[in-house]
């Protein structure tokens, strides 16, 4: 450790302006602060500072994502062997998914961090930790069959156009991970929807009777038929338990509600995720679900409100996406409104608009755009309260 420290200190002069390796300063700094918490001491203001920093915070979000990731790996293998009709034990199933998903994660991090480091160097900044989470979120919201080059293109698009052009972590308007997904969704729709993209088949062919459709698309398809012809459970062929536990096709990290709830527990226990937003998002989703139940114009609308929570990416979005502190509402009151509307629009788009089987992504992106407006009115009400106080007295 001492040797490493000494070596780093020896390299430092070369990275300063005019040094041989100045162009690597930001990248080197990122590695250095990854290895060692710097020896900076307080010079003004409070003499003591909390131990928490952005690295710690982001690391905990990644830890919270791990259950979803690990289950995603298992489920990828599980869906593969289901589709091809083979019976295998736990580890081969897991390793099938591991082999499929690891390259996606690597591509996401290499491309994203590469751009971040380059951008930091151009600006003369330190590399920000924000992408550590984004880089993990992106693989988890993609279908497992997405070609790696598409991942690379969408990551590059989102990091450059959703984040760096606005000034980097802390300045972006939209959630960068969802921008990457939205980019793929509209640029390569055939890779992001339909029934064939959710299960990695390899060179194998599908056995009879396996559809590969997600519960969402089944429900959406059934909604087009007259109500009387729809089979039981609104046309969804999966059991509620499978949908809850996650043994269904879908984006890599979104299927297991158990894994997501473990992640939610980690975020809430460490107080990194905001419970107000999570709670109000779910409330908004349930509210819209009830309204649709009342209308009940087709079979999809009769899906019980609570059942929407275990279908598709609603819960994943509510736990990991809506809670993004940068792109969401920042005031306490704003958070309630923001979360509620995300949930409400998420279910509305999902059920009412047949062109988009999953509404959560679009709903969050729309509300990202409105979050500053919500905050604006909350701030204005605070200002008015202060003014009124002065008027009452005089």
């Amino acid at each position: 450790m001492k040797i490493l420290r000494d070596w780093i200190d020896k390299q430092k002069p070369k990275l300063e302006k005019g040094g041989k390796f100045h162009m690597f300063k930001s990248g080197f700094g990122a590695v250095e602060t990854f290895l060692f918490v710097p020896n900076h001491t307080t010079r003004q203001g409070s003499h003591i500072r909390d131990y928490v920093d952005l690295k710690r915070t982001m690391t905990i979000v990644i830890v919270a994502l791990l259950p979803a990731l690990l289950f995603g790996m298992y489920n990828t293998g599980y869906q593969h062997y289901m589709a091809t009709g083979q019976m295998v034990s736990f580890w081969p199933v897991f390793f099938f998914g591991f082999k499929r998903i690891l390259p996606i994660i690597i591509v996401s991090y290499v491309v994203g961090l590469g751009i971040e480091i380059a951008a930091a160097q151009i600006r003369g900044h330190q590399v920000n930790e924000g992408y550590l989470v984004t880089g993990m979120l992106i693989p988890l919201i993609m279908p497992v069959t997405t070609p790696l080059w598409m991942i690379a293109v969408s990551v590059a698009f989102s990091v450059i156009f959703a984040k760096e052009v606005f000034g980097g972590t802390g300045m972006n308007i939209w959630n960068p991970a969802l921008v990457a997904r939205a980019f793929l969704f509209f640029a390569y729709p055939s890779q992001m929807s339909g029934d064939s993209v959710w299960v990695s088949l390899g060179s194998k062919t599908v056995v009879d009777g396996f559809s590969g459709a997600t519960p969402l698309s089944q429900a959406a398809t059934a909604a087009l038929k007259p109500m009387a012809e729809v089979a039981s459970n609104h046309g969804i062929s999966y059991s509620l338990m499978d949908m809850f536990a996650g043994f269904i096709p879908g984006s890599i990290g979104e299927t297991s509600k158990i894994a997501i709830l473990i992640g939610a527990a980690i975020l809430l226990l460490t107080r990194i995720g905001n419970w107000k937003i999570m709670f109000s998002t779910i409330l908004g989703g349930l509210f819209m679900g009830f309204i649709l139940n009342l209308i009940a114009a087709n079979s999809y609308m009769t899906v019980p409100a609570w059942q929407h929570l275990i279908m598709g990416g609603f819960l994943f979005g509510a736990v990991f996406m809506v809670t993004d502190p940068v792109s969401g509402a920042q005031t306490s009151t704003g958070k309630w409104i923001y979360g509620f509307l995300v949930g409400l629009f998420g279910i509305m788009i999902r059920v009412v608009n047949p062109a988009y089987p999953e509404g959560m992504m679009l709903s969050i992106l729309i509300m990202n755009m409105f979050a500053p407006l919500i905050d604006y009115y909350v701030v204005q009400s605070n200002i008015r309260r202060r003014l009124k106080r002065a008027l009452v007295k005089s």
């Binding site: 450790m1 420290r5 602060t33 290895l35 060692f36 918490v37 710097p38 020896n39 900076h40 001491t41 307080t42 003004q44 203001g45 409070s46 003499h47 003591i48 500072r49 909390d50 131990y51 928490v52 920093d53 952005l54 690295k55 710690r56 915070t57 690391t59 905990i60 330190q126 920000n128 930790e129 924000g130 000034g167 980097g168 972590t169 802390g170 300045m171 226990l269 460490t270 107080r271 990194i272 905001n274 502190p325 940068v326 969401g328 920042q330 005031t331 306490s332 701030v379 605070n382 200002i383 309260r385 202060r386 003014l387 106080r389 002065a390 007295k393």
Partner: protein, 450 residues
Amino acid sequence: MSNVIKLKKGLDIPIKGEPADILENIPMPETFAIKPADFQGLVPKLRVKVGDKVKGGTALFVDKYLPEIQYVSPVSGEVVAINRGERRKILEVVVKADQDNLSEDFPKADPKELSDGDIKGELLRSGLWPAIKSRPYGIVAKPADQPKAIFISCFDSSPLAPDFDFVFKDESEAWQTGINALKKLTSGKIYLGLSVKKENIIFAKTEGVEINYFDGPHPSGNVGIQIHAILPLNKGEIVWTLQPQGVIMIGRLFLTGKYDASRIIALVGSEVKDPRYYQFWMGGCLCGLLKTKLSKQKGRVISGNVLTGTTSGSEDFLGFYDNMVSVIPEGNYYEMFGWALPGFDKYSPSRTFFSWLRSGRNKYVFNSNTHGEERAFVLTDEYDKVLPMDILPVYLLKAILVNDIEAMEQLGIYEVIEEDLALCEYVCTSKINVQSIVRKGINSMIKELG
């Protein structure tokens, strides 16, 4: 206890080194210094030069723009140095004490029988006027102002703060005399903020004031928080604030006719051997005390508390407003994977370290490391949890950063000074220097609006 105001937001930092209720007498320090930096926004104009003989209460420098406000020597002796920093800014005027401790003579009087003009005159002449600060801005009060009220917080809730019940237990006469003098300076009331957790031996008996009780963690003892809860400050209004120490010094002046700089201080912190109270003097050099009372010789000596106190270079002098000295270890070390370790011994209000599993009674050693690099604002809600005010701190700070005077005004710049947002700075994940941003905002308000 009638008016109890409960504040939920805030944080009591569990830091090691609380003072024991023991008072120790020590010899008087050899040198004393008055630091212009203790008084926000002051431009000093010297009244003495090196070699001049001074007494306690002799002006060392005055306010360049309000020369009637004098800043005086705490003791009698000889001016031995005027230390300057960059651009010849005066850092401190150092007085070498003779052992006579003589004071200028001021008339003894019962403030009840004096007019407000007499009282102002005596406070200005004696150099005790700077004990009165004005809100907004937390600067030394302007004698011409008419404050709508005077606020005094009778407890200090900051980390390791001295217990005022212990420190002031023998000062009840000076206290009441000081209050009587201050009563003449405002047409409004004097508001005292008391803690429900203390006995308030001398404070609860104060006559001629309105008493409110506060219950809650730090910063409930900050006078700014108390003003916000009792009588919020609006644009164009002025209130004055004092610390109990200042009231007592004013009281002593009228009782004895002498300038008396003595005060009891607490020497606290994890680097202090047996933290306790000492009979000390305002402006006194801490060198003698530190030489014998620290467990190790290396550490950061802070005049004041760990959140808002100040450090000076080689020699440390007790600040004008301070009645505590904190000593914590320096944090100038590298820690391998420090951000990733479980951190059972790293206290953090954020719960991101496992120390939250330990008992709440556990005390920790805090050092001066920033524990990370500065970043943009990312997390939300952090500041709101430790600021018991109806103010949106991040929006106020952003308004200051873009120097938007109107927005600062609307978002509450008149109601805060640095110390009120010190906890925000402590908890900040992005390591933003909140207090210097607040001061920057206050300075541009003073510049723009006067």
